[in-house]
């Protein structure tokens, strides 16, 4: 039986008086790549922020069977969630190497160096630029750095918030290939939030479609990709 990494039930969240999520349910199993699709304002980013305890939430969020709702972000991260926020969320004034080091902030084992080497091998461009500040990297490089930084914490779940945002199509394709490799070859469990349905479903096992703060459609990725309604709404065909 596969291990359920994330189980979300009746999640509600919002900002101030405005409620964005009206009770959503979904789950992510170990080794899976799950994508949440949705238009602008559907509540995709809010979902990830709610999981990480960055906003007021209610409902249930279980990480590896343990309830984490209401916990502080820093504690949730310490329990194994890594979040690459929209706009990448690197530390622009810090060097690439320091960024990776910060990624391993919560770790106390002695293998940080080894992990760093590993990601340098996976993304050689980061190695070339390891002494440069993160702010001086290109958008695609920053996204790679953000992902590598997130993985430095050896998370049991990696959250990616619209990784394609603001990047050129070719770079986006390259990135998603890397995400697929992360998931399939390295076994990283992924929860991706995207507007680019075609690409995202291409690397995902399962998908959810979020509309106005509620789950609209769900199913295996290859079914969704062939679903007429979804094709019309999100794939533009």
């Amino acid at each position: 039986m596969t291990n359920r990494v994330l189980e979300v039930n009746g999640l509600e969240a919002g900002y101030g008086l405005i409620q964005v999520l009206h009770g959503i349910d979904f789950h992510v199993d170990e080794g899976e790549a799950v994508v949440i699709l949705g238009a602008n304002g559907a509540g995709k980013t809010t979902t990830l922020r709610a999981i990480c305890g960055m906003i007021q939430t209610s409902g249930s969020v279980k990480l590896n069977g343990e309830e984490i709702i209401g916990a502080k972000s820093a504690d949730i991260v310490r329990r194994g969630v890594a979040h690459v926020p929209q706009g990448r969320g690197t530390f622009p004034e810090l060097s690439v190497e320091d960024n990776l080091e910060v990624g391993a902030y919560t770790r106390t084992d002695g293998e940080v160096e080894a992990d760093m080497e590993r990601w340098y091998e996976t993304y050689p461009v980061l190695y070339q630029r390891r002494t440069q500040t993160a702010g001086s990297l290109s958008g695609g490089e920053q996204q790679m750095l953000a992902v590598a930084r997130a993985l430095m914490s050896r998370p049991s779940l990696l959250l990616l918030d619209e990784p394609s945002l603001g990047l050129a199509p070719l770079i986006v394709e390259d990135l998603f290939e890397r995400f697929a490799a992360l998931n399939k070859e390295q076994g990283t469990t992924l929860l991706v939030v995207e507007q680019n349905a075609q690409l995202a479903l291409g690397i995902a096992d399962r998908g959810y479609v979020l509309a106005s703060g509620a789950i609209d459609v769900q199913g295996p990725a290859d079914e969704l990709i062939n679903d007429d309604a979804i094709r019309r709404a999100y794939l533009g065909v």
Binding site: C52, M54, S73, A74, D75, V77, R78, A82, H83, P85, G89, T90, F91, P92, E93, L94, D98, E101, V102, G103, Y105, T106, R149, A150, S153
Partner: protein
């Protein structure tokens, strides 16, 4: 020439103090994008701690270190109780809180130690290290330079070689992402406040250790403006910038104002006004300062 040299030496000794207070301001600014208007007063209070311990018989340098630790603890408490509850992006309440601290600390020091100036033990020994003609470079000036360089090197090591230092740099670079890598932001900022208070105490002690000065509650009032000008000149988030800024402001005060006085009979009592003008010009012309990285304009 001798006169010029002498003024240059004075500039360095004043500038070093401004640099140290500016470093304290920069530490808090990096952490919270806030200018701590009570920084000078906190340093003054720390200097009184040191003096009191010394009067009780503790050797001077130990008293100073103890005072630095005491002020650091006090500042950590202040951060926890008075600063952390507020939204860091909303400046008005934070400015008001630091102004309140300014009033309270200044007045409490005056109540406890009275307004009479007290001489502070000479930290660096008397006499001159070098005399060139009539210009004397006192041991005091040498001591201040060594202190500044020492503090900066230590801070640099602390920030680049330790885990808390890394966390501090991360938090000052990107607050939200810091939370997302598991850094506990509150305690990290608290660390910044504590560090700033320790440096501020050292700064005030070094300032009043000058044989021509005495410790009194209002001693740091003017220094804060000089230091703020120095910090702005260096770029509010750059530690070495603060040092360069401090020395430059020292130069403005001791050299430029003197020559303005000589040539245009510009009154020397206006050196504070000169500092305010420098501050204003920097903020107008180059708000990021000489070495600052980010645009400082966050309203």
């Amino acid at each position: 020439m001798e006169l010029f040299l002498q003024r240059l030496f004075d500039a360095v000794s004043n500038g070093s103090t401004y640099a140290l207070v500016a470093v304290a301001l920069v530490l808090i600014f990096k952490a919270t994008t806030l200018i701590n208007f009570a920084q000078g007063e906190m340093g003054m209070l720390g200097a009184f701690f040191a003096l009191q311990l010394w009067l009780w018989g503790v050797p001077m340098w130990i008293a100073l270190v103890l005072a630095m630790i005491l002020s650091a603890i006090l500042a950590a408490g202040i951060e926890r109780v008075l600063i952390r509850p507020f939204d860091p992006a909303d400046h008005l309440p934070l400015v008001i809180i630091t102004l309140g601290l300014f009033l309270v600390i200044n007045a409490v020091a005056a109540i406890v130690w009275r307004f009479d100036p007290r001489s502070f033990p000479n930290l660096f020994g008397d006499g001159n290290a070098i005399s060139i003609g009539g210009a004397n470079l006192g041991w005091y000036t040498v001591g201040t330079i060594i202190t500044v360089v020492g503090v900066l090197v230590l801070l640099q090591l602390l920030l680049t070689r330790t885990k808390i230092g890394l966390a501090f740099r991360a938090v000052s670079s990107n607050l939200e992402s810091s939370e997302l890598v598991g850094i506990r932001v509150g305690p990290t900022l608290q660390f910044g406040w504590a560090l700033a208070a320790a440096v501020g105490t050292l700064a005030a002690a070094v300032f009043v250790a000058n044989p021509v000065r005495q410790l009194e509650p209002s001693i740091m009032l003017r220094v804060l403006i000089f230091a703020a000008a120095a910090a702005a000149l260096g770029g509010l988030d750059s530690l070495w910038g603060a040092v360069v800024g401090g020395l430059s402001i020292g130069l403005v005060q001791s050299v430029i104002v003197q020559y303005l006085n000589q040539w245009f009979s510009f009154p020397t009592t206006m050196s504070l006004a000169a500092a305010v003008v420098v501050l204003m010009v920097v903020l107008l012309v180059k708000p990021a300062g000489l070495f600052g990285t980010a645009a400082v304009e966050r309203v």
